[in-house]
């Protein structure tokens, strides 16, 4: 076919300048690539690599502070960098469309989904109301939403994350654009939903011959969907080539490092359990939320039901599950950040689920948590040193001693002890997570809970923090409860794994056993959905 040879998108020598005073002059530096019809090209890179900036430049949606300074972006031969605002508006959704990372916030909460798609049609076409409605129902059916008529009249908050992303896809593709830009469209979704959305995008673009520019940080997704891959770093194109070649024979050291940072889905061998001392045990732990209402029947949500777990000294227990499975609820009940409604929690020999807050206080020290988002879990107004010593000082340690302990811990987490008087914004995400770990360790806990503690980090940083956590566990013979949605991470760090679904533990056993021979249907579906499960990342063929 002749159209196969003319690319739908040609980015030539594109540079986008950052405002003066940034850490580099250009957000994007002399980047060139093409997307052909019917082809999925992945832009891969860690945060700050400039991949989203490229997407927004193509759509003409760049923040005012960023300015394209050189190069061309040809959409079917037309330079969109030279197009005026009106022409850009005409092109959006008719020839190029974009879907975003957060389906939860990308739709207008006060308009029905149908009206939001209808806007696209009434802006760009002359169809009458009945024709528009028919076309919308058609596209809703194509993105496989159940009961299109009901969905048409629904507001976004009445739909699940996956359904909302389907609405976004429907909106983007309703006018059959030649280019679809997908900016991390599955990052905020659960793995099983992610697998369905990836499949849907591949199907739709295949049938219409749409060119897709797919932005992601996840090599699993790349392996799943891309035909060609472009690796970005600090705004520069490091390497580009067919997916198979980039994944198995990368030429550049950076690409090799990035790919080998992806945790393997095959668990490491941990040996047999020798430890006898149980640090934490839960018995039929449950948490029920009920919304009381004066006139209606109370609404009851069982967030956790009959959860039995135990963790011994020096072991890591992983709780794996999708959002809403109850894994964080269990962690919070164990730390008594929320009060469990049923069952018991034994910390050593002390039962802490039911004791009064004043009697609980002395035991608080024994369980410490590291949270998901290192950007929001440190108080921005106080120095990291003060954050670390605050806890021990509450428990009676003198400031000098607490500071001494903080300095030692900074070394433990491989940070400069002299940085204690700095503020959180002076550290990167990975460094902040190390500080959060130091803060938790400063209390000398018996149990460390890591609630999605590496989920917000780039793979290379994630690898380092995971290594650090494992090393600390060994050195201090610490019990760790590791909450994660990421099977690869769980495979690398857990001795035991509990798989949760709808508030219940559906499978529980040694990590090696659960990963190599999952028994429960839900666990199996979880593994089947893991992107790139057939790839062994980082085992490169000789170049």
């Amino acid at each position: 076919m002749s159209s196969d040879t003319t690319p739908v998108l040609e980015v030539k020598n594109l540079s986008v300048a950052l405002p003066p005073g940034g850490d580099r002059t250009n957000a994007v530096d002399k980047v060139s690539f093409t997307v052909k019809p019917g082809e999925i090209v992945c832009l891969v890179g860690e945060s700050g690599s400039g991949k989203s900036v490229i997407a927004f430049t193509i759509m003409g949606l760049l923040a005012k502070a960023l300015r394209p300074v050189s190069g061309e972006i040809l959409l079917q031969g037309e330079n969109v960098l030279a197009a005026n605002e009106e022409r850009l508006r005409e092109l959006r959704c008719t020839r190029m469309s974009m879907i975003f990372q957060e389906p939860m916030t990308a739709l207008n909460p006060v308009m029905t989904c149908g009206d939001q798609i209808d806007e696209v049609l009434s802006t760009h076409t002359k169809l009458d109301a009945a024709q528009r409605k028919a076309k919308i129902i058609g596209i809703l059916t194509r993105v496989k939403l159940p009961e299109p008529e009901r969905i048409y009249a629904s507001f976004p908050h009445q739909l699940s994350g996956g359904q909302r992303q389907r609405i976004m896809i429907a909106m983007a593709l309703v006018l059959d654009p030649v280019l679809l830009i997908a900016d991390e469209p599955t990052t905020a979704l659960d793995v099983t939903t992610q697998a369905e959305i990836l499949k849907l995008i591949a199907e739709l673009q295949g049938s219409q011959g749409t060119g897709v520019l797919f932005i992601t940080h996840d090599f699993g997704v790349v392996a799943e969907i891309a035909r060609r891959v472009a690796v970005l770093r600090w705004g520069e194109l490091v390497e580009m080539g067919p997916t198979e070649q980039i994944l198995s024979r990368p030429q550049q050291a950076y690409t090799r490092m990035l790919i080998s940072s992806v945790p393997s889905i095959h668990p490491v061998h941990r040996g047999v359990r020798l430890e006898k001392e149980t640090v934490l045990r839960t018995e039929k732990l449950g948490k029920t939320y009920s919304a009381k209402s004066f006139f209606q029947k109370a609404r009851v949500v069982k967030a956790a039901v009959d959860v039995d777990l135990d963790i011994r000294r020096g072991e890591t227990l992983g709780i794996v599950g999708e959002s809403g499975s109850g894994k964080s609820t269990v962690a919070r009940c164990i730390a008594r950040l929320i009060d469990p409604t049923e069952g018991k929690v034994f910390l050593g020999t002390t039962e802490i689920a039911t004791i009064s807050p004043s009697r609980l206080r002395p035991h608080r020290r024994r369980v410490q948590i590291v949270f998901q988002d290192p950007y929001r879990s440190l108080n921005p107004r106080i120095t990291v040193g003060d954050s670390i010593v605050e806890g021990p000082m509450n428990f009676g340690l003198k400031r000098d001693e607490a500071l001494g302990r903080a300095r030692k811990l900074m070394e433990t987490v491989q940070l400069d002890p002299n940085a204690l008087d700095r503020y959180p914004h002076q550290f990167s995400g990975g460094q902040r997570q190390r500080i959060c770990i130091a803060r938790a360790l400063a209390m000398e806990p018996e149990l460390l809970i890591a609630d999605e503690a590496v989920s917000a980090l780039d793979v290379s940083v994630q690898k380092q923090v995971l290594g650090l956590l494992d090393e600390i566990r060994q050195r201090l013979n610490l019990a760790v409860l590791f909450i994660t949605h990421d099977l690869r991470v769980a495979a690398q760090i857990c001795d035991y794994v509990a798989v949760m679904s709808q508030g219940r533990v559906v499978e529980y056993g040694a990590a090696e056993q659960v990963f190599s021979a999952p028994k429960h249907a839900y666990t199996k579906s979880l593994f089947a959905a893991a992107p790139g499960r057939n790839w062994e990342f980082g085992k490169f063929a000789a170049a």
């Binding site: 759509m59 949606l61 850009l88 508006r89 005409e90 092109l91 959006r92 959704c93 008719t94 469309s97 974009m98 975003f100 957060e102 916030t105 990308a106 739709l107 207008n108 909460p109 006060v110 308009m111 806007e119 696209v120 802006t123 760009h124 507001f155 908050h157 976004m168 909106m171 004066f294 006139f295």
Partner: protein, 313 residues
């Protein structure tokens, strides 16, 4: 929803009870004797006692309270000590100017403030934004009576376009009514323009950073549609709240404005009643204002559901 409205209406009763007790006691405990005011400067103490007995003011306070509450429950707000009319008649007579002033003020305020706020948010950091925000600081800072006399000087005395003071009832002469109500409404409205413009700017500015605004732009919609259809409706709840508080506060502002422009409204009635220790009138007016506050707040809460489908009662 029906539950919600019913519950809120029932909740008015304790509010009124508390207001009633409080107002009644406050008036009896403040110095000043209505009988002495009515009797005039040259009355003897016997004459004053006689008037006091006639008004029932010689009874113990608790008896007076029970009689008053009993009357109210039977729908009788009593008779003014001073104006020699029933309180209901008095209020009916004075209602129109205040109502007209409040409604005109509200229309002027919302019609100018919301577009100004949206524009300032859209062009934030620009000259227009700074002018609007500067104006709003000024609007807050200038007392109503200063603005009132300045406007009278310019438009009524200097340019002679509008009457200085007074009121024409709407049913008598519509254009006369408009010419009398326009300056007072602008005077009273300026502070609300300032308030509503600021809050509109702030909430629209916040909404403009939301992901769905980016989505709307990625759809190829024009800026006007993005602003009016997507941004403003999402910014509506805080704006409505401020408008609601504004309406409640209007009544207070109306006292000064009605005095400056000589409008015979409820604001002036309240001032006159207080000065003459006209207990039944003061009590009735304050009770009525409390009902108005509660009902306005209820209407605001209900109006949220029109703008945001996620809010359900």
């Amino acid at each position: 929803m029906i539950d919600f409205i019913a519950r809120r209406l029932v909740a008015i009763i304790p509010v009124l009870a508390v207001v009633a007790i409080f107002v009644f006691l406050m008036l009896r405990l403040t110095p000043g004797d209505p009988a002495a005011v009515i009797a005039g400067d040259n009355a003897t103490s016997d004459q004053i006692d006689l008037i006091r007995a006639k008004l029932g003011l010689d009874l113990p306070i608790w008896q007076q309270f029970i009689i008053w509450i009993g009357d109210i429950l039977r729908g009788n707000l009593g008779e003014s000590f001073f104006f020699k009319k029933t309180v209901v008649e008095l209020i009916a007579q004075r209602l129109q100017p205040t109502l007209a002033l409040s409604i005109c003020t509200l229309i002027i305020a919302v019609a100018t403030a919301v577009p100004l706020g949206v524009l300032a948010a859209y062009r934030h950091g620009s000259l227009l934004d700074r002018v609007v925000m500067g104006f709003s600081v000024m609007g807050f800072s200038l007392p109503t009576f200063v603005i009132g006399y300045c406007l009278i000087y310019v438009f009524a005395i200097d340019l002679d376009w509008l009457p200085v003071q007074g009121y024409t009832r709407i049913e008598v002469d519509f254009w006369g009514f408009i010419s009398h109500i326009i300056l007072p409404s602008i005077t009273l409205g300026i502070i609300y323009v300032a308030l509503i413009a600021r809050i509109t700017r702030a909430s629209v500015l916040e909404v403009l950073n939301e992901d769905y605004i980016r989505t709307a732009r990625a759809k190829g919609l024009s800026n006007r549609v993005v602003l009016m259809r997507h941004a403003l409706r999402n910014a509506a709840v805080p704006i409505l709240t401020v408008i609601g508080i504004g309406v409640a506060l209007l009544i207070g502002g109306a006292v000064v404005t009605e005095t400056v422009y000589g409008l015979p409204g409820l604001g002036r009635l309240t001032v006159e009643a207080v000065l003459s220790r006209d207990f039944p009138t003061i009590q009735a007016v304050i009770l009525m204002f409390s009902v108005v506050y509660v009902v306005i707040n209820l209407l605001i809460d209900i109006s949220y559901t029109l703008f945001d489908p996620r809010i359900r009662y």
